[in-house]
């Protein structure tokens, strides 16, 4: 009986996934995917992963959804879908995929009765850092290198997106995000919501030290507010060659690098924090990173330059 809600949730998730794959046109598929993102946020809550649930809602349902919806809108005016494979091939591949799923389930769910875990190790070392949210400690202390490299991945992808601009508009602003049918309610929302959203974003970042939340969740909320303003046409995307924009993109990672290297002199080596200052440094780092993330995510959604720089 106690499993009933979970069972229902799993059915919904799998249903949304099937819909996403099987939907006839791509817009329905995208909508299925966004719904899936929201359902998954619930799943993550059930798995006691509030930080991941926030990230999934912000990115899976939010940022990725917006990205895909905009792509649909622009593709619809260009080309129609293509025919899919024959029935025999479908059956064959379907069978292989099912076998694969069974294999993964067997491999992932078998194993020892008392599964190995790093949870005790995290708990034992958390006092040395002084933060209350273990996920933030993993992200910014134990596995800080992953987080640093992840920012570099984001920057590389952003440069990749920018690189798709035609030569003659390089450095110019991306295409306007303003919706053709932008209307009063949207404008109203874009005027009212950003201050609130800004506070929520900052709250998520600040709170991330001790409770669920953190840089990426907060940064994405900030990006969403900026995007909302641009969607309503109250602001235009900036020129990608603007120095301020470029400095904002590298600001977070640069601060991360400097704090990492300062560990050589102030603490016990690269990416380690001086005793007693870990929390202060991590919160400062999170603020810097969130700022860069907000700019990078928003610019990725805005796409490559499309108009000649002035």
């Amino acid at each position: 009986m106690s499993m009933l809600p979970d069972l229902l949730l799993v059915m919904l998730v799998l249903g949304a996934a099937l819909w996403t794959v099987a939907a006839r046109d791509r817009r329905s598929s995208v909508i299925g995917f966004i719904a899936l993102g929201l359902l998954l946020a619930l799943v993550w809550m059930r798995l006691y992963a509030v930080d991941v649930a926030l990230t999934e809602a912000a990115v899976g349902g939010g940022a990725t959804g917006l990205l895909l919806l905009r792509a649909c809108a622009r593709l619809d005016s260009i080309d129609a879908g293509k025919p899919s494979a024959g029935r025999t091939l479908q059956l064959l591949i379907g069978f292989c995929c099912a076998a694969m799923g069974v294999g993964i389930a067997a491999a992932a769910l078998g194993g020892p009765d008392l599964p190995p875990t790093l949870a005790p190790a995290v708990a034992a070392n958390i006092d040395a850092v002084g933060l209350g949210n273990p996920v933030t400690v993993v992200l910014l202390a134990y596995r800080a290198i992953d987080t640093l490299l992840e920012k570099i991945v984001l920057i590389a992808a952003l440069v990749g997106v920018w690189s798709l601009a035609p030569d003659d508009v390089w450095g110019g602003p991306p295409a306007s995000l303003k919706l053709a049918k932008a209307s009063e309610p949207l404008t109203f929302l874009a005027q009212i919501l950003p201050p609130v959203g800004f506070v929520i974003g900052v709250y998520l970042i600040w709170n991330g030290a001790d409770e669920p939340g953190g840089t990426f969740q907060g940064g994405t909320v900030l990006a969403a507010m900026w995007l909302l303003v641009m969607l309503a046409g109250l602001a235009e995307p900036p020129e990608t060659r603007r120095a301020l924009l470029q400095y904002l993109v590298v600001f977070g990672p640069a601060v991360f690098l400097i704090s990492g290297f300062s560990g050589f002199w102030l603490a016990e080596g690269f990416l380690s924090y001086p005793t007693g200052f870990a929390k202060t440094m991590i919160v400062a780092l999170e603020v810097a990173l969130a700022l860069s993330i907000a700019v990078i995510v928003a610019m990725m959604l805005a796409g490559p330059s499309a108009r000649t720089p002035r």
Partner: protein, 496 residues
């Protein structure tokens, strides 16, 4: 959590080798386009020095260098570790990156007076991105950190493939990106399963506790499949030739020489470090069979190409196939010799192939096209480049004296000693086919120019010299003694 002062000093080298190009990337983004080249070249030179210093340190002490990031011990933290093999690859990668950087300096990417700086900023940023990704892949000791490095490698490489912005290049880049992402996701499934089974992802820990059970075998098979897609082994090579065809020569050189090698290195890590015994034997056989199929099939494909760049691209798939022959050869007493052959093949192919792609770039510029049937007079126009092409070709074929010869000789000896005649036969057939496609080009290019031939444009000398330097490096590897290389076994886990 205590580390001696001495280890911190040499360990800083590992940190610097990853963080130097990171700093460079950030600097290129904020610096004006005309400065981006200088920034990148300075960083590349400094990276080369760091790599050489690291190698010297490992050679001097005969011990691997380890560094705990943030001073957190694995499995909680992530360690960097430089052993003989990884510093060899690091030095190789920095040499190739520096040479390609020099080749692309000046007016290669855009005319000096060009108002638009797109290709310059993008190229230099992502060149440094590749450097970060490669050094991380060679040093990081954690399966998840390696995943992030692989993604960085993919994104940088894809954008370089798409650099010229033509539809065919974009299509090739899109296909490459989708397949590479599929590869990553397979790798990540395996990582998740391993975490569920062992509760840790650090290589040294996994090596000690890996069991021979369903989860481990399944996870490793998935991860290796994903990596095979990224390294473009037959039959998962289909993305590679089109990706090379449209990319600028400098990007193709990096893609063939370095980008496909990092996933191979990861396969070696998994195979030697984590794979339990009965599984590793079977996996080794399967990998070698795919390698052999690559050698034969893609050499034939290379022979049939009419465009120079496509020919070289197919040759890459074939030459990467040789690397996979090593796995069954390490079971017997010839393991050291086989590994030496494999590493030598990896390094000399990197130099030779980078040189060949850069040469193809020069040839295409001079002739205005890259159709093999119409290359008469190339030698007349660019003798230095063509000499380099010929030298690189020698190494690919495996003619003495060259790195390719030593490598294939070692693999051949190892194969015959344990009676693996099928591997020995493939090595010989591959050499013959390689001779076929290299001489097909040389025969055309050495012929005297037709009446009224004029070079489409002149090439700055430094670019031709870079091509020659790379080819000479491939040849120079042939002067190493034909014995197992002691250097690469320093600190290698899982090697005999």
């Amino acid at each position: 959590m205590t580390a001696g002062a001495a280890t911190i000093d040499s360990g800083a080298l590992l940190v610097v080798s990853i963080m130097l190009p990171v700093t460079g990337m950030l600097a290129v983004i904020v610096s004006p386009a005309r400065r981006s080249e200088q920034v990148a070249l300075v960083i590349l030179a400094a990276s080369l020095l760091t790599a050489v210093a690291t190698a010297a340190e490992v050679l001097r002490t005969g011990e691997p260098i380890e560094y705990l990031l943030g001073n957190w011990r694995p499995p909680l933290g992530v360690a960097l570790r430089a052993d003989g093999l990884s510093v060899t690859l690091m030095v190789m990668a920095s040499i190739v990156l520096s040479c390609v950087g020099l080749y692309a300096s000046g007016s290669y990417l855009a005319p000096p007076d060009a108002h638009h700086s797109r290709s310059r900023t993008v190229f230099w940023t992502l060149l440094l991105g590749l450097s970060v990704a490669l050094n991380t892949a060679f040093l990081a000791q954690d399966l998840f950190t390696l995943f992030v490095a692989l993604e960085l490698l993919t994104f940088s490489a894809v954008a370089l493939v798409a650099l010229d912005g033509r539809p065919t290049s974009l299509e090739a880049a899109l296909r490459y990106l989708l397949l590479a992402l599929a590869g990553s996701v397979f790798y990540l499934v395996g990582t998740a399963v391993l975490y569920g089974a062992y509760g840790r992802l650090d290589l040294s820990g996994l090596r000690q506790i890996s069991r021979d059970d369903l989860a481990t075998t399944f996870a490793l098979s998935l991860m290796m499949t994903g990596l095979l897609v990224k390294t473009a082994l037959f039959p998962m090579h289909l993305w590679l030739p089109p990706a090379h065809a449209g990319a600028p020569a400098a990007a193709s050189a990096l893609l063939s020489a370095l980008v496909v090698k990092a996933p191979f290195f990861l396969i070696v890590l998994l195979w030697t470090g984590i794979a339990p015994r009965p599984f590793s034997v079977i996996a080794g056989q399967v990998l070698a069979i795919l390698g052999m199929a690559s050698i034969v099939f893609c050499s034939v494909m290379a022979l049939r190409q009419s465009r120079l760049k496509l020919m070289i691209a197919y040759s890459t798939v074939a030459q990467v196939g040789y690397l996979f022959l090593v796995f069954p050869l390490t079971i017997g007493g010839t393991a050291n010799l086989a590994w030496s052959g494999c590493v030598l093949q990896l390094v000399s192919h990197a130099f030779a192939k980078a040189s060949m792609f850069l040469a193809a770039g020069v040839i295409a510029e001079v002739m205005g096209h890259d159709r093999i049937s119409n290359l008469k007079g190339t030698f007349h126009a660019v003798p230095i480049t063509l000499t380099a092409f010929a030298l690189a070709g020698l190494s690919l074929i495996g003619l003495p004296i060259s790195g390719g010869f030593s490598a294939k000789y070692m693999l051949l000896t190892a194969a015959t000693e344990i009676g693996a005649w099928w591997i020995a036969g493939t090595i010989l057939v591959g050499g013959l086919l390689a001779a076929g496609y290299v001489f097909k080009v040389l025969g055309q290019a050495l012929a005297p120019p037709a009446e009224g031939f004029a070079a489409a444009r002149s090439i700055p000398l430094h670019r031709e010299l870079v091509v020659l330097v790379l080819a000479s490096a491939a040849i120079a590897m042939g002067f190493l003694p034909l014995d197992p290389l002691p250097f690469i076994t320093i600190g290698r886990m899982g090697l005999p």
